[in-house]
């Protein structure tokens, strides 16, 4: 493919303003039949891919570039969190809350109480993802992390310490959505479902909208969670890794400690094999596309240094956008290697 083949563009970014998707198109010289923008943070990537897939299937466009990226300095990020939405501006910023870490500290405490989890359980996730990151040259944290390093890291907002929080980076992720006959080593969208604002911010934040649609998602995919060879869950915090895996059906008995230690911790469940955002870094809206790109790489056999041998199917989730207490957007995408 060359740029002149591109006839569709989907863009997600917190830091693009005052430019919009059309300005990106013009600067890249793209002439388009399909154009969209979605800035719903960690959910935007999967939403844009699903819209692009529908547009290609309907014949509206044939080659759609889906790209998400951000470049936020300290001052820009500070403005973003203070003015994230009107509710934040009026009801959180006056508390000097310091950003989303404090909110997810309280979500994590609730999860620890509800499921009998300790910091070591979250540590197992952070350590395992760092081990995967060693095979990803694009990860910002690649040196091995021990459980002691995790436990001894500086406190951010108790119980969260440094390695519970995704490091802020500048970066971007992109995929091309097109028809199977145009793609080399294509990966197919098998199923996609979303559920936003599932509980009106009145729950405990320990279940996302994915729980409501997981049954439909796996039915549409034609297989269950046990047959996904690689999994990318949106990992702004380890607690949300566990929450979304449980929503997808990976903890039918509700034993999140076992899920963390025996399955994620040992690598027997291939979760966030890029290192996830916890090790690769969180680049704003790109975070919602990061996990999808990793699944695509795995299914194309291009995840050098961390390749899951013979990976045929994978699932990615998107999550985020905090109206008040925790993320309200949630979606999931099942991908398969075309035969």
């Amino acid at each position: 493919l060359s740029p002149s083949d591109v006839d569709g563009l989907a863009v997600g970014s917190f830091s693009l303003a005052p430019d919009r998707a059309i300005d990106v198109a013009w600067k890249l010289g793209l002439r388009l039949r399909f154009l969209m923008e979605d800035n719903h943070g960690g959910a935007a990537g999967i939403t844009m891919i699903d819209h692009a897939r529908r547009a290609v299937e309907a014949g509206d466009a044939s080659v759609i570039l889906v790209v998400a990226g951000d470049l936020l300095g300290r001052a820009e990020f500070s403005r973003l969190i203070e003015d994230f939405n009107t509710t934040t501006r009026e009801y959180l910023t006056p508390l000097a809350y310091g950003g989303p870490n404090a909110l997810f500290a309280m979500v994590t405490t609730r999860q620890m109480q509800s499921y009998g989890l300790g910091r070591e359980d979250y540590g197992a996730i952070a350590v395992a993802q760092r081990a995967w990151a060693a095979g990803n040259p694009s990860a910002v944290y690649r040196t091995p992390l021990t459980l002691d390093d995790y436990l001894d890291a500086p406190l951010v907002a108790d119980p969260l310490c440094r390695f519970d929080c995704a490091p802020l980076v500048a970066g971007a992720d992109a995929v091309v959505v097109t028809t199977g006959n145009r793609a080399r080593r294509p990966v197919t969208c098998l199923a996609c479902r979303a559920f936003h604002n599932v509980d009106q911010q009145d729950g405990d934040g320990l279940q996302t909208g994915i729980a409501q649609v997981a049954g439909e998602l796996w039915n549409a995919a034609g297989f269950g969670p046990d047959e996904a060879d690689v999994i990318s869950v949106y990992d702004d915090y380890p607690a949300m890794v566990l929450a979304q895996l449980a929503d997808l059906g990976y903890a039918p008995d509700g034993d999140l400690a076992r899920l963390a230690r025996q399955q994620i911790g040992t690598g027997s469940l291939a979760v966030n094999t890029s290192g996830g955002q916890l090790s690769a870094g969180q680049a704003g809206v790109a975070g919602g596309l990061h996990g999808v790109v990793e699944i695509v790489r795995q299914l194309r056999g291009e995840a050098h240094g961390r390749q899951i041998a013979g990976a045929r199917n994978g699932v990615a989730t998107g999550y985020g956008m905090i109206p008040y207490r925790y993320g309200a957007c949630a979606n999931a995408l099942v991908l398969g290697r075309s035969r």
């Binding site: 203070e82 000097a96 404090a102 309280m106 405490t109 951010v156 009106q200 405990d204």
Partner: protein
Amino acid sequence: VILRVCRRCDLVAFPPRRWCPRCGGASWRRASPGLGTVESVTHVHQGFGITGVSRPYLCTVRLDAGPAVIATADPHLVPGAIALVSNVGGVLRAEPIREADATREAARVRTSKTGTDVG
């Protein structure tokens, strides 16, 4: 910084919404936060705007009136404690409350509910 009560179905909301999430009603009256149970607490050590001298304690309180709210917290509050939440200088503040005071406060709120609009 005050609760909103749906005039049609009495659902209590915080922060304010345009439409009632339960019945779709668009007319609200006001109410004070009052008592609740502390769900979780965090002491924020690092963050944007956080310095050594201003490390806030924050908590989530499930109010007896219904909604879960985020407030600055007295450092002595722990999960499970009963707290009195009020508007202090334009922000929600959760303070510990003795059991006797909690009973009296709950009785006061019950009485005031028989009135019409609060605030």
